[in-house]
Amino acid sequence: MSEESQEFQPLVDREKRLADARALVDAIENEDVGREAALIGELTAAYSGNIFDEVGRMTREVHDTLRSFAEDERLGAFTQEEMPDARDRLHYVITLTEQAATRTLSITEEATPIADQIVDRSQRLKDELAKVVASEADNPRLGSVVDSMARYLDSTTHRGEQLKAQLTEVMMAQEFQDLSGQLLMRVIDLLEQLEDKLVGLLQITAPVREANAPDRQAERAEDGVGPQLPNASDNVVKNQDDVDDLLESLGF
């Protein structure tokens, strides 16, 4: 601050400024509004030359900064290599997660019929055993063996059902691939725009670019805005219950 005020030298000498300031106090005391305005004008004029100098100096600084910005080699590498690289990596993450999800889905699709078979066969076997026991009612030894086999088959059926439910859960968990893929696509889109802007800025020291370069359209709900993050605003439903409440309020 003190450095700035040092540079900020008025154009008019001290005597004149003091005289003007005293006259200003006098004008205010005498409620001479016209003279008061004129004197304020005189006093500010004493500085305005410096203000223009200052604006000129700032303009040069901005210009120099932009030039050194454009000449910064890292920035060139950034737009030409690193940002496209980052995009490729994100695309690769999408590919990897898709492969993983597809593989998991294939396995659950193969495993589910196996669990189905276990459930079906243990149930059928139990029914057949029950018939045998009914026809051999006078054989207590057979009865007790069949009894323990039936208990075992019951638990197998139950576990087979559990297995099926768990396989469904594993399948549903692969939903992450859609959501993470959509979010990554949006980050990739953002990177592309950032890259565009940077390239534009780099060209600024060359003849000024066309001012009517297409501006990025603001996100439009109608086009779809993608999955929302957990800390999203109030404008976003948090779960299916919110959706149902909203639709109910609309008469659904």
């Binding site: 469904t168 549903m172 691939q177 859609d178 959501l179 779809g224 404008n235 439903v237 659904f252």
Partner: protein
């Protein structure tokens, strides 16, 4: 509700199409077809005698909301029940979908029970 009804599943992510189809199979539906966006879905719908449409919102080509509009504007499809299963979760979007005539709306991530419940509810209304 007819378990043999013909259902079209529209989503640009193959993972999600597969998950929805698997869930539908578990619910006993076997007559299933798929498309990856509105543009491919619409011709299928026009020639395919579909009984039910399940669609995502955000897809390249033709979005789910535009597909819904096209369906409602087509005399032969206007009454087709449509369920949206999407990550789009803004209130204005759900309201828009309702105004355009959607029959149900599920926000991802979702589960099989939700899908079952919504389908049952839609067909209770359609059949009543």
């Amino acid at each position: 509700m007819d378990r043999n009804m013909k259902i079209l599943v529209v989503d640009d992510f193959s993972t999600m199409r597969r998950i929805i189809k698997n869930l539908l199979k578990e619910l006993g539906f076997t007559n299933l077809e798929e498309a990856d966006d509105g543009q491919t879905a619409l011709p299928l719908l026009r020639q395919g005698n579909f009984d039910f449409l399940i669609t995502d919102w955000n897809m390249p080509g033709m979005s789910g909301i535009d597909l819904l509009r096209a369906v409602r504007a087509d005399d032969s499809l206007a009454t087709l029940p449509v369920l949206m299963v999407t990550a789009e979760a803004k209130r204005e979007q759900i309201i828009l979908a309702a105004q355009e005539g959607v029959n149900g709306y599920i926000v991802k991530p979702f589960n099989g029970a939700t899908l079952k419940g919504k389908i049952e509810k839609i067909f209770e209304r359609v059949e009543s």
